[in-house]
Amino acid sequence: MATTDSVVEKQDLDNQGGSSWDGGEAPFKASYGKLMMWYFLLSDAFTFAGFLIAYGALRFSSPTWPVPDFVFSTAPFGVHHAPLIFVTIMSFLLIISSVTMVRAVQEGHRENKNGVVFWMLLTIIGGIGFLSCQAWEWTNLIATEHMTVNVNPFGTHVESGVYLDADGKETDEVFEAGDSYLIHKAGAAHGEDHGEGDHADHDYSQGDHAGYYVNSDNFLQRKYLVTDGPDAGEVKMQQFGPKAFGALFFFITGFHGFHVFSGVVFLIIIMVNAGSGLYMARKNGHEMVEKIGLYWHFVDLVWVFVFLVFYLL
């Protein structure tokens, strides 16, 4: 043991049996690494809490807010009008990967190298699966539904009314206060058939038209006749939803997704180390697996609350 780190080992030996004031005891009977991982997670929890509380404050300050089961109602393979189904699958992926992580830690306690690698591999697959789902969700929101950090095409009606057709005549499309709408881009395929027939024969040049307004970004804001309230009889057009929604969504789910991504990277590194037998030789055994396990469960924990505020409430 005549290596350079024998100094540290000698210190450890010296401390053993010393009084508490000499550093002879581990605080809270936990190792340094585990304790610091807990405190890092505490600070990270405050960061996420800050973001989620900002979301709450802005949502409370807004007269209307996009309804989650309207915004998140699309799934891959052409599934529409399936509110929250896709994001529930994403939640299950994280829960399952959390469970496989617990199994990896348990195998680590038994010093079962192959068991650790097997269960960590399943955890990594779960994490990558979650990231892929999130990539699809973002792509759908950005490319198909045209939501960006500063444009939110998900609006909510505040009064009842009836939509006008392209010539400015009333249609039979009636809506009530509280109904949601998505402002589409003129001429663009929006993945959903509204049964409005062919758009091609209308004039979608930018500017004001009889039944709609095309803004400078080619968003088609439909006009409608208000049928109740103090403004009954007036013709208005669809307004964009609260602007902060897009920025909050992409920033908070992105920050969580980045945590998942870094978790996957660390899981891969530690899985490779475990597989090489590195931890079998260590005095504290597979503690590294425990520490990345704490981090991975925390990512699942944060998702519980992101899921709550963005999708459920």
Binding site: P27, K29, A30, L41, L42, G56, F60, V102, R110, F298
Partner: protein
């Protein structure tokens, strides 16, 4: 660990999986119920919306508790460690109250501004002005 036998802790993990999955499904069900997807028309009952919100928050906190205490093994740590990690989060209660109250106040102020903007100002012709009383004399504005 050494607190439970290997077989027992293995069983506990799969119990956790079923528990978290079922709680998540219940949450999604309640969320859709509150938004009127399960039974139409329920979304218009406002007290139901608050009740559903409360149920969802309680269930989420239960999930968080389960993840921290079972999966992250907080149950088996020294009490001081658990307290030093969990107690600081109580500060968030203050942040929740303060910021949500502030958010609501922004909304009310915006509504107030909107209402004031709509108030009609009555136009008065110069000839109809009665003038001001100043030192017991009426001061005419015009001539």
């Amino acid at each position: 660990m050494g607190h439970l036998s290997y077989e027992d802790s293995k069983k506990l993990v799969y119990k956790g999986l079923v528990l978290l999955a079922v709680v998540t499904l219940i949450e999604v069900f309640f969320s859709l119920l509150g938004k009127g997807h399960v039974i139409g028309g329920l979304e218009d009952i406002s007290w139901l919306g608050y009740l559903v919100g409360l149920i969802l928050i309680v269930l989420s906190i239960y999930k968080a508790y389960y993840i921290i205490y079972e999966f992250m093994h907080m149950r088996y740590e020294v009490k001081g460690l658990a307290l030093s990690v969990l107690l600081p989060t109580v500060l968030l209660v203050w942040a929740l109250i303060a910021f949500f109250q502030e958010g609501t106040a922004w909304k009310q102020r915006r509504q107030q501004i909107e209402e004031k903007d709509k108030e009609k100002v009555e136009e008065v012709k110069q000839d109809d002005l009665q003038g001001l009383r100043y030192n017991d004399k009426t001061v005419r504005f015009n001539g």
